[in-house]
């Protein structure tokens, strides 16, 4: 039971972390609340389905193709749709909701609303102290961890990472250091959507595809970000695992807990907003001119 909770918490926590960090990145750098973030995740999942099930592409090349296509799509959406309204918060919010729904409708058109699935990349499982651990779960966890470490190295060790951190703190001063805001925002959007696409691609064998599959992770991701503090990457990371483990606890410890799973994120979000609206690591944003 304990091990069940740990495995399940680690895996869902890692997925939530990937989604929430991507969402926080573009918010931090460009103050864009991208509601369509998990819709890109959904598109990536469908890409994997399409390439592996309909075109007969191998799972690894399919994954690369999915990430590249979705990232490209994200950049186009950003350049022609989000960037022109970037300074207008309400417009960004409404615009990205519209974008998400548009993507959902397109997927409905192409793939209908049927539930689809993709087989595991790795079949089989092993037992650890009586708990079934599927190889696919292990693979997913390993891949997510690798990407998180790579992202951390990018942020701390590269020139782009430095620019991203500067812009997340003070866009104007970043500009005064010679950082091209537009270009860094664009690059960050690419990374952000790329992370969503990667999440979609690795999660697809563990989940069921349908065009509405972006909504549940959107709510979870929002809860993580509220819990961790909007704009804080550290907060997103820690918040994601807190949420992952809480979900696992509810599912395994409460009788019929699986039915309550969906309400965990919402309850946490409401609790945080009442008790500590700025979240665990929230930064009070200084008024920028």
């Amino acid at each position: 039971m304990l091990l069940d909770i740990i495995v399940s918490g680690l895996i869902s926590g890692s997925m939530f972390a990937l989604l929430a960090i991507g969402f926080s990145l573009i918010f931090g750098v460009a103050r864009i609340v991208n509601i369509a973030h998990t819709a890109f995740y959904m598109i990536a999942a469908y890409c994997i389905f399409f390439f592996t099930q309909r075109m007969g592409v191998g799972p690894i090349p399919a994954m690369f193709m999915a990430i590249i296509i979705v990232t490209f799509l994200g950049l186009i959406a950003y350049r022609f749709f989000i960037e022109p309204i970037r300074e207008h918060e309400a417009a960004v919010l409404i615009g990205t909701i519209a974008l998400a729904i548009a993507m959902q409708e397109v997927m409905l058109l192409f793939f209908t609303g049927d539930f689809l699935s993709v087989p595991s990349l790795l079949e089989g499982f092993f037992s650890l102290m009586g708990v079934k651990i599927f190889f696919q779960q292990l693979l997913t966890f390993g891949a997510v961890l690798t990407i998180l470490i790579a992202l951390w190295l990018m942020l701390m060790k590269t020139r782009l990472g430095l620019a991203v951190r500067c812009m997340a703190e003070d866009r104007e001063v970043a500009n005064l250091m010679g950082i091209n805001e537009r270009r860094v925002a664009m690059a960050t959007m690419g990374i952000s959507v790329g992370l969503a696409a990667f999440t979609g691609a690795v999660v697809v064998p563990l989940t069921i595809l349908n065009p509405f599959m972006w909504m549940e992770p959107l709510i979870i991701m929002m809860a993580v970000v509220v819990l961790g503090g909007l704009g804080s990457l550290k907060g997103s990371f820690i918040g994601a695992y807190i949420l992952g483990f809480t979900e696992a606890l509810v599912v395994f410890l409460i009788p019929k807990g699986a039915f309550l799973k969906g309400s965990v994120a919402l309850s946490i979000m409401i609790l945080v907003l009442i008790i500590r609206p700025e979240g665990l690591f929230g930064i009070a944003f200084e008024e920028e001119r």
């Binding site: 309204i85 300074e87 207008h88 500067c166 703190e169 500009n175 005064l176 250091m177 950082i179």
Partner: protein, 249 residues
């Protein structure tokens, strides 16, 4: 002239913040800009380094009020009034902003490296870093400290150090002494004259008239968006009206 400002007007939301500004800075000078609160000193620096143009661009794309910039700003005879702030830095015109504004969550070293963002030559950056640490020994050995935990004086040194890392030809510094104890103010001013002696041209905005007039080659007095006097400290201090009305002495 290294910097030339001609007939510059700036409006924010119909309010005229700068009114027909004509001024300039020559290579090697240390020029100060003084005047009461709200005179428009920061706005003038912001106009020169591209931040007013940036505000104008943002306001165009949001519901914010209108920002208008009229007139000519030239740096080394190139018109820069419509150039992006990040391009202006590339030319060597650098702004050390009001309230210091370090990247508070980043380390001292990363703050300084942010200043070197445009300098791709790693060796040059490292030698500049060593020079900055030499100029500001308080920062030495604290490269890994989070800059938000530095004292006010140290943060000011960091802000100036960060600006120096961009290799400026003209460094604009906005009110570096604000909020500091008298000893620290003297130290900050000493560092600024040292920067000037290193051959970097400085445009300094300050309220601390006494200290600034002693080190500057020329001064402008700004009030309600207009330049109302110009000259050496000696000359300005002799003028009874300017002393009483604008400098509060």
């Amino acid at each position: 002239m290294l910097l030339d400002v001609e007939h510059l007007n700036v409006f924010y939301d119909k309010a005229m913040l700068l009114n027909d500004i004509n001024m300039g800075v020559d290579t090697g000078e240390l020029v100060s800009l003084v005047g009461p609160n709200g005179a428009g000193k920061s706005t003038l620096l912001r106009a020169v380094t591209g931040l007013v143009a940036r505000d104008r661009e943002i306001s165009k794309r949001s519901t914010g009020g209108d920002v208008v910039l009229q007139g000519l700003i030239r740096f080394e005879n190139i018109q820069i009034q419509n150039i992006h702030a990040h391009e202006i830095v590339k030319m060597g015109l650098v702004h050390c902003p009001e309230r210091r504004r370090p990247f508070r969550e980043m380390t001292v070293r990363d703050n300084l490296l942010a200043g070197a963002y445009l300098i791709k030559d790693r060796d040059k950056t490292m030698s500049n870093l060593a020079k900055v640490y030499d100029l500001f020994p308080v920062l030495k050995g604290r490269g890994s400290q989070i800059s938000g935990t530095l004292s006010g004086g140290e943060q000011q040194m960091l802000a100036i150090g960060r600006a120096l890392m961009t290799e400026p030809r003209l460094l604009c510094i906005d009110e570096p002494s604000t909020g500091l104890a008298p000893i620290l103010r003297a130290e900050v001013f000493e560092k600024i004259s040292e920067v000037s002696r290193l051959g970097i041209t400085v445009l300094l905005v300050e309220q601390e008239v006494g200290a600034v007039f002693a080190m500057s080659s020329r001064n402008y007095v700004l009030s309600s968006g207009r330049i109302i006097a110009e000259g050496t400290g000696e000359k300005l201090l002799k003028d009874e009206v300017i002393r009483k009305t604008y400098l509060g002495l």
